[in-house]
């Protein structure tokens, strides 16, 4: 009887002499393929649908990876004592009362603001539509500051959409998948945004440092009027973030005569590493959908300016400096 060396189309013994293309050739082919993929992915949007589909397939892994943390949370809730819950409840009640009082004031202020803006012929709206999203994962790479959230294209999330939490600006959407999206935080080293000092309107650019504790203000002159404890708000000049949301508080100003610019450290007001729920803003300022490159933005804005004089009245400085700001800030990264 002849022993069949092939079983089920595979050799029964390890194939010592049967070889496909040599190892070097295979390595070379796959390397070239990877490099081609990287170049295409970096330069063109052709791979986005493929990424989105693969993402749909693989995002359940993120939910599974979160299971231990969620279980711990549930366990903690189940075992926290009654007294603790009562105390928390009381605290929340008090907080709610305080906030409601502020809200009463806010209603009249908002109305007043709208009237004044109408007087100024401005088209800018005060209120924006928001969508609540939940955090489902943090980026595994310790050198980037990104999050995964549980809202995606199907919920109307778009590229470049601003993300807030209860206390301030968090970041923007950089990748949209069908049911999830990736958010780049304002502290990522690749992110910067145009801001304004709330006290005197001084404009600056807040760049991320890769450290989630603080941001840096770029190109602030040595003599600029900026102090510790100044509140910074988004200026809306980059046309990405809505104006007026708190970004951070100045914690240190270092004026060294040997350096051309002051070193200003800013602590973000948003709880970047603690917030579980965040708000996606559909603001009129950022409602240009999938437009990403800053160049297109600048062009669009010039057209708008030509068509609509009212916009320029609202923010006289915006038209002049927006191009420059969006270039400098690299908002569109």
């Amino acid at each position: 009887m002849v022993v069949n060396p092939w079983r089920n189309g595979r050799p029964a013994i390890k194939p010592l002499f049967i070889k496909g293309p040599s190892l070097g050739v295979r390595l070379f082919a796959l390397t070239v393929l990877s490099v081609v993929l990287m170049v295409i992915d970096a330069r063109f949007a052709a791979l986005q649908p493929l990424r989105a589909q693969l993402g749909l397939l693989l995002t359940p892994l993120y939910y599974v990876a979160e299971v231990p943390a969620r279980t711990w949370d549930t366990f903690h809730q189940l075992t926290s004592s009654r007294a603790e819950l009562i105390a928390e409840n009381e605290r929340l009640r008090a907080e709610s009362l305080l906030i409601q009082r502020q809200l009463q004031k806010l209603a009249s202020l908002t109305e007043q603001n709208v009237r004044l803006r109408e007087l100024l012929n401005s088209s800018s709206l005060v209120d924006e539509r928001v969508l609540v999203a939940e955090l489902i994962g943090v980026d595994p790479n310790p050198f980037t500051q990104r999050l995964m959230i549980n809202k995606g294209e199907r919920d109307g999330v778009f590229l470049g959409q601003p993300v807030l939490d209860a206390s301030g600006l968090m970041g923007q959407v950089v990748e949209v998948m069908p049911h999830t999206a990736r958010v780049l935080l304002i502290t990522d080293a690749a992110h910067s945004l145009p801001v304004q000092v709330n006290r005197n309107g001084l404009r600056a650019i807040a760049a991320g440092t890769g450290n989630n504790e603080y941001l840096e203000l770029r190109y602030v002159g040595d003599t600029a009027d900026i102090r510790v404890d100044d509140i910074l708000v988004s200026s809306g000049l980059g046309q990405r973030f809505p104006a007026g949301y708190p970004v951070g508080r100045v914690v240190a100003v270092d004026r060294d005569p040997g350096h051309p610019f002051a070193e200003v450290k800013v602590a973000p007001t948003a709880q970047l590493n603690r917030s579980r729920y965040m708000l996606l803003v559909f603001s009129p300022e950022s409602a240009y959908g999938e437009v990403l490159p800053a160049l297109e933005l600048a062009g669009e804005q010039e057209q708008n300016g030509a068509q609509d004089e009212g916009e320029q009245v609202a923010e006289p400085v915006a038209a002049e400096t927006a191009d420059q700001a969006s270039e400098e800030s690299g908002d569109a990264q």
Partner: protein
């Protein structure tokens, strides 16, 4: 195609572990789970798990990490290739000696990853990016023994 399921599951588990949330200072040393699991299978079954498996699972990592498509694919292919070159020698080594060989292999992988990352503009400012390779080397004997027990238990050849 006997028991390819175990290989697929172990790779899936490695992917899962590599996105598991970790507390802040520890995540600098997140072990290179996928690279280790792939290295084990390539070493144990070089006729079944090769460059292509490594490349595909690398692509999956890229999607999960949201990084440039093909970046981890290239690195994982490189790891598989290095292990394939060395497998006939190192599979006979004792485990601690295997770990010593894995150090340059995983170190090179991290270096290439850093280099590719810097192409897309985010370069970590410290030498800490080599930490994962170091941690993985210490974990290698355990990962390797667990996988080899599983392999023998489920008769994967």
């Amino acid at each position: 195609m006997r028991n390819s399921l175990l290989i697929a599951l172990s790779i899936l588990a490695a992917l899962l572990l590599s996105i598991m949330p970790m507390p802040s200072p520890l995540d600098l040393g997140r072990p290179m789970w996928l690279a280790m699991v792939l290295a084990y299978w390539v070493m144990a079954l070089p006729h079944r798990v090769g460059l292509l498996t490594a490349w595909v699972s690398g692509l999956a990592t890229d999607v999960l990490y949201g990084e440039l498509f093909g970046q981890h694919a290239l690195v994982m292919t490189l790891v598989a290739w290095l292990v394939l070159l060395l497998h006939q020698r190192i599979r006979r080594f004792p485990l601690w000696q295997q770990s010593l060989v894995m150090l340059p292999v995983l170190g090179i992988a991290q270096m290439v990853l850093l280099w590719l990352n810097s192409l897309s503009g985010n370069r970590p400012p410290t030498l800490l990016f080599l930490m994962p390779a170091l941690v993985s080397v210490f974990l290698w004997p355990w990962v390797s023994s667990v996988l080899s027990v599983l392999r023998k238990r489920f008769h994967v050849y």
